[in-house]
Amino acid sequence: MLTVEDVQLSFGGVKALSGVSVEAAKGRITAVIGPNGAGKTSLFNVISGFYKPQSGRVVLDGEDITRLKPHARAYRGMSRTFQNIALFSGMTVLDNVKLGAHTRLTGGVLSSGLRLPSSRREEAELDAEIRRDVLGMLELDRVQNSHVEDLPYGLQKRVELARALVMRPKILLLDEPVAGMNREEKREMGRFVTDVRDRLNTTVLLIEHDMGMVMGISDHIVVLSFGKPIASGTPERIRQDPDVIKAYLGGAEDAADDKAA
């Protein structure tokens, strides 16, 4: 579904990514892991289109999207959450989630300003669909009219996931979905991510620090260290890989935010 081919990225001589290739297979959960500063966030920013790599390609569903702007990638079915919660405070859960449907709606200034039937219908259908499908699946129906800033952290992360899903993405990028969560919240989030794969058949690519979560839900794992891929395979293979063990020495349990990129 999504292929990253041999991407090189450097900032003023500092190499952030050198020769990274990742493939996210259709309908699977692929995880990218690595210690602090391994280049995970840089990789995500290349995939989303915020950074332009010096060389290499990003291919989505057979189309080279390396040069596309972030919003154009959204229109091609790429959706993403952020490591730090990127919800819009002051807005309700429902409105936040509706923002995710931007690419699916067509209303412009005139049609929505005049409340033409087309735009009214579109909004009503979206409301109904969100209530029926997304909020129910992520167990958010009871808080749909709350303001997002009033919700606990774990729920806010879930709202972000809901927003990313409303887009009906072909590929969903999750940037440290369980960072800063307690054990209970992590387990729930893990369940929701596998639900996304199993019930919606969405391809998921995630970067994560938390080894327990990654090992538990991923189908395929890629390990980065200092901007280079050092291993890839199933969770079982990765767990036994000597290079991975070395790179992670003492760092495996560290769930702190990966700020370096």
Binding site: F11, T41, A261
Partner: protein, 293 residues
Amino acid sequence: MNAFHFFIEYSIVGIASGGVYALIALGIVVIFKSSQTFNFAMGEMMMLSAYLFYTAAVTFSLGILAGMVAALLGSIVLALVIERVALRPMMGRPFIAIVMVTFGIGSIIRGVVGMIWGPNDLQIPAILARTPVLIGDFFIPGKTARAAAIAVCIVLALILYLRYSRAGVALRAAAADTITAASMGIDVRRVVAFTWVIAAITGCISGVLMANVNTLTPHLGVVALNVLAVIILGGMNSIGGVLVAGVIIGWLEAVTGLILGTEFREITPYILALLVLLVRPTGLFGSRGIERI
């Protein structure tokens, strides 16, 4: 006298008025460096300083020297009050909110000056001699030439001070990286207050000079808005670039005044600003930085 001769003469006069603009620009850029604040009230601070000078020197008959000292002190106190009361509470807020606060302060000062001193022009005591200065066969009006000389001296003195004094080092550290500077024991809030003092001084001197070259009116400060417009486009990173921008405005105003008519002087900086935006959307010297996401 041919057209070329006029052109050169106007150019020299323009560059000379640019000296005062450079002084204004310096006041704007130091505040920006310390706190990323664009001070839209710079012009009004200037204008108020000139009125303070007038009041001290004429109304209270203190004379020129004591009047200037009083105006400087008054301006500094005012700048510190503005910084403490209006800008410190805004730290960390979106930049457009901060811009609007300085814009609001400008409006307050304009109004207060209008209420106290009225809308009519005032004549301040002559500080600068009127005898014209001759460079080759080019005449420069005496006041303009002397104002430029004073402005340039003060700009140079301040640049040297900022380069070699402890305060200047602290400012550069704070400008480069606030958090690191704070961890090195630099009191960033004091640095910010210090830059407001610098701005008060440059504003006061440029205000009095401008009031001398022209007259003292509540519109005296409008030039600072022009200066601000151009230096934002020049890129706010380097003090040198900003000073050059100040001189360029002076020159352009004079030359467009000659070619298109004096009424065009007031909009020259804005036309320049729009042209620059069209050609180089990131500003003349600015570069697109890498942003953290």
